[in-house]
């Protein structure tokens, strides 16, 4: 009963957040600019494209009408224009690119596998190495291993992703020739090449992100290990690994998992920088090219999509959190 109410309450909250985020995004990107039609029609902006954009966006409608149509389009799909030139945009409709003659949803789905390959692999790598590093540092607190790990972690936190990526390409790509210097091969085409092309992006992302996780894990685990129940666990004669893993790490990981869910959601919405460094055509690179070609529909669509992903990640994290730490459900 309590659990059901918790899930439903969270779900309602997430829906509300999604609505507010969608409305705010629309307002910022379509209602503020002086000429959204011109921004949507692409570069070069041909007169017929401009006219189509004006007609499709329904700019003659009052702002609440435009907003309503837009929100409805995400949920139920919408049709741009009327008559012979009408274009159907099924739900979830994030807009239509006149330049690429495709719905934004289709564009996103085409690019998503690239970004997802980068994000998921990197996330697994940084979670495992971050937690392992943080645990090792906490257990050897103040000793050489602790200081070494934490020094690497501070360096990782301070190094920009693109710098690490560039150094990786220089070393393993150009100097040693072990790995490709960029590009993406679909998993379905050639699994080995897929893996080889992804190793460097994964390593670069994992290096900078694992640092945050190592610092967090170390701090949380140290706090946990100082609590009374750990002393009790030791006193009743549990082995040290059991104490650390079952009673320390399990609690210490709760906030780490929280950050992990959000990070993964964030990265799935576009690994903009990594994609540029390794010349991969994912969501982030689609965003950058749409900005230089002035394709507002795609820009907003991707922004909206990544905001949705993060909100969804929030929900998942919240529910997982409820399982890991039942106190949050009862609150």
């Amino acid at each position: 009963m309590i659990a059901a109410r918790f899930v439903l309450g969270r779900l309602a909250g997430v829906l509300l957040v999604l609505l507010v985020v969608a409305a705010a995004t629309y307002a910022i990107f379509y209602l503020l600019p002086a000429d959204p039609a011109r921004l949507s029609c692409g570069k070069p902006c041909t007169p017929e494209n401009l006219q189509r954009a004006q007609q499709f966006l329904g700019l003659d409608a009052p702002w609440w009408g435009q907003l309503g149509q837009y929100l409805l389009g995400i949920v139920a799909g919408r049709t741009f224009g009327t008559g012979g030139g009408a274009i159907d945009c099924p739900a979830p409709c994030f807009g239509y690119s006149f330049q690429l003659s495709s719905t934004v949803t289709d564009l996103i789905l085409q690019r998503l596998p690239v970004t997802a390959s980068i994000a998921v692999g990197a996330a697994v790598l940084w979670f495992v190495s971050g937690v392992a590093g943080g645990t090792a540092a906490a257990l050897r607190r103040g000793r050489l291993a602790d200081r070494a790990i934490m020094t690497v972690a501070v360096a990782g936190v301070s190094a920009p992703a693109y710098l690490v990526g560039i150094l990786g390409i220089l070393l393993f790509g150009f100097a040693l020739g072990w790995l490709p210097t960029g590009g993406y091969v679909p998993l379905t085409e050639d699994p080995l090449q897929w893996l080889l092309h992804l190793l460097l992006p994964w390593a670069a992302l994992a290096f900078i992100s694992a640092a945050v996780y190592a610092r967090l894990t170390r701090a949380e685990l140290l706090e946990q290990l100082s609590l009374d129940h750990i002393r009790t666990a030791r006193a009743i004669g549990l082995s040290e690994p059991a104490v650390v893993v079952r009673h320390g790490l399990r609690n210490a990981l709760i906030p780490v998992v929280t950050v992990f869910g959000l990070d993964l959601g964030l990265l799935l919405g576009g690994a903009v920088i990594t994609e540029k460094v390794f010349s991969m055509q994912g969501l982030g690179s689609l965003l950058i090219t749409s900005i230089s070609s002035l394709d507002l529909q795609v820009v907003v669509g991707i922004t909206q999509f990544s905001a949705f992903l993060v909100t969804a990640a929030n929900l998942v994290v919240d529910l997982v959190y409820g399982v890991l730490d039942p106190r949050t459900v009862r609150r």
């Binding site: 501070v154 900005i291 909100t311």
Partner: protein, 308 residues
């Protein structure tokens, strides 16, 4: 004073502080220094390049003339570019942090002190904003703002705006515990209004927290500016920016790998120094200040903003 003494006992923090001060001084004196070396970051020098546009000489054209070599394709002095780039980084970093800190402190103070519905709504907004794809939003925003709006100001405002929630959360937490303290209750009992209490009683006690946060926010803002410029949507050329130089260097990898070293090294060094200084300050000011468990799962423990 004991804070300063504790900070001085941390050798890493001291080294970091020296590095930060050196970079800040170099940034402030950039026109003077490049005046002395005789190379500004804007003048082309095609004589320093070979036929393909790559720098002449070893390691990106490093010489007595050009200490860091020259930029491929233009022959501009890389030392001058890195030096003036520090000006861009520090200006954007400090101004954006000022925006974040003032907004965040104000919001956190009001939410924490008012409590009730105000607090609940503000906390919710902070939660949502903290988990927001801010880099994607920033990039997109640069596309719709009119070209006539000064770009550097836009960058400062955008970065500053996305930095306030972290400050607001920490300040709110501090206020919640401060407002139970007897000196605040005494002030209230003597008839001080909410504005007076916030300004005279709470704000001075928040200074330490805010300083630590500002030290962590500056490198984050510097990194974000560099990331935006790296992606080609940051400060416009010809204003030198470390991020843009690093971005340019990608296409020169195979010919001139040294090009990335100086702007990249500078960016890494400054960020590292600020982070170490922030760590040292946090430990020196109050060990208890260190992270709290999030109240709800939507409240992530964001230590440093990482741009990917």
């Amino acid at each position: 004073m004991s804070v300063l003494r504790r900070l001085l006992r941390d050798p890493w923090a001291v080294v970091a502080a020296i590095v930060v001060v050196l970079f800040a001084a170099a940034a402030a004196a950039a026109p003077l220094i490049t005046g002395l070396t005789g190379h500004d970051p804007f003048t082309y020098d095609l004589d320093a390049l070979d036929g393909t546009g790559a720098p002449q000489g070893a390691f990106g054209g490093v010489s007595a003339q050009h200490w860091f070599g020259v930029e491929p394709l233009t022959g501009r002095d890389l030392f001058a570019i890195v030096l003036w780039g520090a000006r861009t980084s520090f200006t954007v970093g400090v101004l954006a942090t000022a925006v974040s800190v003032s907004l965040g402190t104000a919001v956190g103070l009001i939410a924490g002190y008012a409590g009730g519905w105000t607090d609940r709504v503000v906390s919710r907004i902070v939660d949502v904003m903290l988990g927001f794809p801010s880099l994607i939003f920033m990039i997109s925003l640069t596309a719709i703002v009119a070209a006539s709006f000064p770009r550097p100001l836009l960058i400062v405002l955008v970065i500053g705006f996305f930095g306030w929630p972290a400050v607001a959360r920490v300040v709110r937490g501090q206020v919640l515990s401060l407002k139970q303290r007897s000196f605040v209750l005494a002030a209230q009992a003597m008839g001080a209004g909410p504005f007076d209490v916030m300004r005279r009683q709470l704000l001075p006690n928040l200074a330490a927290t805010v300083v630590v946060y500002a030290t962590i926010l500056v490198p984050a803002a510097i990194g974000t500016e560099a990331a935006l410029s790296f992606l080609g949507v940051g400060v416009p050329p010809p204003t030198p920016s470390w991020g843009r130089s690093i971005g340019d260097a990608i296409s020169w990898f195979s010919v001139d790998p040294a090009y990335v070293a100086f702007p990249g090294g500078a960016l890494f060094l400054v960020t590292l120094a600020f982070n170490l200084l922030g760590d040292g300050l946090r430990d020196a000011l109050d060990p208890r200040l260190a992270r709290r468990r999030p109240r709800s799962a939507v409240a992530p423990v964001v230590e440093e903003a990482v741009t990917r």
